[in-house]
C-alpha cells in the first residue's frame, strides 16, 4: 500500500458480467478499489481489460452484478451516470482529443459546460494543468499540431480539469513512439504521488512495479491473479500468468 492509500472503498464491483451479443466478455468480476489506490490491469489481448474499466464510467453497460462508484450505483439512471462521469476521468489509447478545438479549449470544455465554471477560471486552471504537464506553450495550438506524447498529456489535462476522484487509463502509451512513452509515464507517476486513485491498463511493467499497489491479471473475462507487484512479477502463481510475464518481459 502506498502512503496515500486509505481504507475507504471508492469503487465496489460485485459479480460484474458483460456480454457483446452472445460473447461473454466479463465473467463475474468482484473487486474493491480503495481511495488513493493505484491498480495496474494487464492481460492478453481480448481478455476484457478495456471493457472492464469502461464499465466503471458506463461507456460500456454491464448486464449483471453491481458497480458502486463513490457511493453511487451505476444504473440506467442518466443523472447517476452523469454524476459519476464527473468524478471519473478517462484517458484513451488514441487520445481522442477534439480536433476542431484548440488544446486549451479541449481542456476547458468540460469545466465550463459541466462544472459551470466561468470561462476565465477554467482557462486559468487549464493553463496551470498544462504547466504541470510541461506543455504550457502548446495551449493555443490544435491537437494535430503537436506530437503524440504532447497530445496524450493534453488528454490527461483534459480529464484532470474536471477534478475527478478517480482516473482510468486505457493503454495510454500503446499508441506512442518509444521516445514519447516516458514523458507520459512521468506525468502519470507524478499524478500517482499526488494521491489520485488510478486504474491503469498497461503493459509497461516497469511502471507497474514502481507505482502500482496491486497488479490484476485478466484472462478471458476473469481476474485469474492479483497481487502486489513484487509478488506478482517475482512469484506468479498461475501458469498463464507466468507465461504472460515471461512473454511481456522479453519485449
Amino acid at each position: 500500500m502506498n502512503e496515500n492509500t486509505t481504507n475507504d472503498p471508492i469503487i465496489i464491483c460485485e459479480d460484474v458480467h458483460k456480454w457483446f451479443d452472445d460473447f461473454h466478455v466479463l465473467k463475474g468480476i468482484t473487486t474493491t478499489f480503495k481511495k488513493g489506490e493505484r491498480a495496474v490491469i494487464c492481460g492478453p489481448s481480448g481478455s476484457g481489460k478495456s471493457t472492464f474499466i469502461r464499465t466503471i464510467n458506463r461507456l460500456e453497460e454491464h448486464q449483471r452484478g453491481t458497480i458502486i462508484v463513490d457511493g453511487i450505483e451505476l444504473s440506467n439512471d442518466l443523472r447517476n451516470i452523469n454524476l459519476i462521469r464527473q468524478e471519473v476521468g478517462m484517458v484513451f489509447q488514441q487520445f481522442n482529443l477534439f480536433p476542431h478545438l484548440t488544446n486549451i479549449k479541449n481542456i476547458t470544455l468540460g469545466p465550463i459546460q459541466v462544472r459551470k465554471m466561468s470561462k476565465k477560471a477554467a482557462e486559468e486552471a487549464a493553463l496551470a494543468l498544462l504547466e504541470r504537464m510541461d506543455i504550457a506553450d502548446q495551449a493555443y495550438k490544435y491537437p494535430a499540431e503537436i506530437s503524440g506524447g504532447q497530445q496524450q498529456r493534453v488528454a490527461i489535462a483534459r480529464a484532470l480539469a474536471m477534478e475527478p476522484k478517480i482516473m482510468l487509463f486505457d493503454e495510454p502509451t500503446s499508441a506512442l513512439d518509444p521516445e514519447m512513452i516516458s514523458e507520459v509515464l512521468d506525468v502519470m507517476r507524478e499524478l500517482a504521488h499526488s494521491g489520485m486513485t488510478m486504474l491503469v491498463v498497461t503493459h509497461e511493467m516497469g511502471f507497474a512495479r514502481e507505482v502500482a499497489d496491486r497488479v490484476m491479471f485478466f484472462d478471458e473475462g476473469v481476474v485469474i491473479e492479483e497481487a502486489a507487484p513484487a509478488d506478482f512479477f517475482d512469484n506468479p502463481q498461475h501458469e498463464r500468468t507466468k507465461l504472460f510475464i515471461s512473454q511481456t518481459l522479453q519485449h
Binding site: 471519473v88 477534439f98 468540460g110 494535430a144
Partner: protein, 417 residues
C-alpha cells in the same frame, strides 16, 4: 574514398518559372502539343469573336432596361418600392453588425453579398439606349455616373450601411444577444414590411421577379438547415419511433419530385386547413421548398455524422457532457465542416429550384422572363438577351455561394485539423 564536400550550401532545384518558360514547358514542349495549342488558339479566337460581337454589336439589349423593373420586382407597385428598400437596409445593418462582431464565416458571407450588390450597382442594366451615337456623347457618360450614384442611391446607401455597420460592430460583443434577436425578428419584419398593413397593402400575388426568387431561396436555405440537421440526428437516434419517423420522412420526400411537392402544397395542404382559412401562396411555396430541401440536407449531414469516430463521443461523455451538449459541441461542428461542399451544393440547388414555383402560379425571376418574351408582343424575338441576363443573375448568386464555401473550407482547414 572520395572526399565529399558537405559544407557547400545546397540550393533547391530551380523551379521558378517565368511566363515564357511556362509557355515553353506546358504549351509548346512537343511538336504535337504545339499543333494542339495552335488549334486551340484559333478555336478560342472564333469563340471570343462570336461572343464579343454578339454582346456588343448584335444583341438588342434595349429589352433589359425596358423590363428591368419587372425583372427585379415583378408586378410589385413602384410606389411601394420603398418598402423593399427598408427591408434591404434593415438586413444590411444586421449583416454589417454581425460581420463586425462574429467575423469569420459571417464576414465571408457579407463580403460575398456586398460583391453581388456591387455588381448590381456598377453594371448599367437599366440604361436606355436611344441611339448608337449617344454612346459617344459626354452627356451620356455623365449620365452613367448619374445613374450609378444618384438613381441608385438606395442601393448605394444599402452598401454603405453594410460597410459602415461592419466597422461599428467590430468588437461590440455586448450586442450579440440583440443581433440574434434582430435576426429572428427579421423574417416577420420582412414579410410585414413587404406586405404592408392597414389599407395600403401589397398582396403577395404582386410579389415577383428577383425579389421573390431571393425571398424563397433565403427562407428555404435558412429554414431547411436546422430542419435537416434535426432529421439527420433523428434518423440516427436510438429511439425507434424518432428514427422511423425521420427515415420515412426523408425517404418519402426524396422519392418525390419537387414539382409534385409544390403542387401538393398548393392543392392538398389547404384541405387540412380549418374552415376557409387560406394559407398564402408564397408561404406555401416557402414551406414546400423548405420541406423538400430538408430531406436532402438531412442526408448530407448524416454523411458527416457517420464520419465522426466513436472515440470522439466517448471522450465527450467521459468528461460528463450530456447527449445534447456532446452533439452541439463535439459531433455537429466536426460533422458539418466535413460536408460543407455538399451543404452549399444543396443551397445552390435550392436557389435554382425556386424557378419551379411557376407551377403554383408564382412569378419569380424565370417566370417573369418567360412572360416578357412569350407574352408581350413588343419583345418577341428577344429570348436570348433576356435568358442570358437571367442566367447571369443566377450565376452571380450561385457563384457567390460557392465562393463563400471555398473560403470557409480554407478558413477551417478542412482535412487539416
Amino acid at each position: 574514398m572520395e572526399n565529399i564536400e558537405i559544407t557547400q550550401e545546397v540550393k533547391p532545384p530551380n523551379t521558378s518559372k517565368g511566363p515564357v518558360k511556362w509557355l515553353q514547358n506546358n504549351l509548346f514542349n512537343t511538336w504535337y502539343n504545339t499543333i494542339l495549342t495552335c488549334f486551340a488558339l484559333v478555336f478560342l479566337f472564333f469563340v471570343f469573336k462570336g461572343v464579343f460581337s454578339w454582346v456588343f454589336i448584335q444583341a438588342k439589349w434595349e429589352v433589359i432596361p425596358a423590363n428591368f423593373q419587372i425583372l427585379m420586382i415583378g408586378p410589385y407597385p413602384i410606389e411601394h418600392v420603398w418598402r423593399i428598400w427598408i427591408v434591404l437596409w434593415t438586413l444590411a445593418v444586421l449583416l454589417g453588425l454581425s460581420a463586425g462582431i462574429w467575423k469569420g464565416l459571417v464576414l465571408r458571407i457579407s463580403t460575398a453579398i456586398a460583391g453581388v450588390g456591387l455588381i448590381f450597382l456598377l453594371v448599367p442594366l437599366d440604361i436606355v439606349k436611344n441611339s448608337e451615337a449617344e454612346y459617344a456623347t459626354l452627356e451620356f457618360n455623365i449620365n452613367i455616373i448619374y445613374l450609378i450614384f444618384f438613381k441608385r442611391r438606395w442601393l448605394l446607401g444599402c452598401l454603405a450601411l453594410l460597410v459602415g455597420t461592419f466597422f461599428i460592430g467590430r468588437n461590440k460583443n455586448g450586442l450579440k444577444k440583440w443581433i440574434i434577436g434582430g435576426w429572428i425578428l427579421s423574417f416577420p419584419w420582412t414579410m410585414i414590411m413587404l406586405h404592408g398593413f392597414g389599407e395600403n397593402t401589397v398582396s403577395t400575388t404582386n410579389w415577383g421577379g428577383l425579389l421573390l426568387t431571393l425571398l424563397l431561396a433565403a427562407v428555404g436555405i435558412v429554414a431547411c438547415f436546422p430542419l435537416g440537421v434535426l432529421l439527420a440526428l433523428g434518423r440516427r437516434s436510438k429511439l425507434p419511433a424518432i428514427s422511423w419517423v425521420s427515415t420515412i420522412y426523408i425517404e418519402t420526400v426524396r422519392g418525390v419530385p419537387l414539382l409534385t411537392i409544390l403542387f401538393m402544397g398548393s392543392v392538398i395542404l389547404p384541405l387540412f386547413m380549418p374552415g376557409d382559412f387560406q394559407l398564402d401562396k408564397v408561404i406555401r411555396a416557402m414551406v414546400a421548398l423548405t420541406l423538400f430541401s430538408a430531406a436532402y440536407m438531412a442526408e448530407n449531414v448524416r454523411g458527416g455524422l457517420q464520419a465522426i469516430p466513436q472515440g470522439q463521443v466517448e471522450a465527450a461523455q467521459a468528461v460528463g457532457l450530456t447527449y445534447p451538449k456532446t452533439t452541439l459541441f463535439i459531433v455537429l461542428p466536426q460533422a458539418l465542416r466535413a460536408v460543407i461542399p455538399a451543404i452549399v451544393g444543396q443551397f445552390i440547388a435550392l436557389f435554382k429550384d425556386t424557378a419551379l414555383v411557376f407551377i403554383v402560379g408564382l412569378l419569380e425571376l424565370m417566370g417573369i422572363a418567360e412572360g416578357i418574351v412569350g407574352g408581350n408582343p413588343n419583345w418577341q424575338g428577344y429570348h436570348v438577351e433576356v435568358y442570358v441576363l437571367v442566367a447571369a443573375i443566377y450565376f452571380i448568386f450561385c457563384y457567390a455561394m460557392s465562393y463563400v464555401s471555398q473560403k470557409i473550407e480554407a478558413d477551417l482547414g478542412v482535412g487539416k485539423h
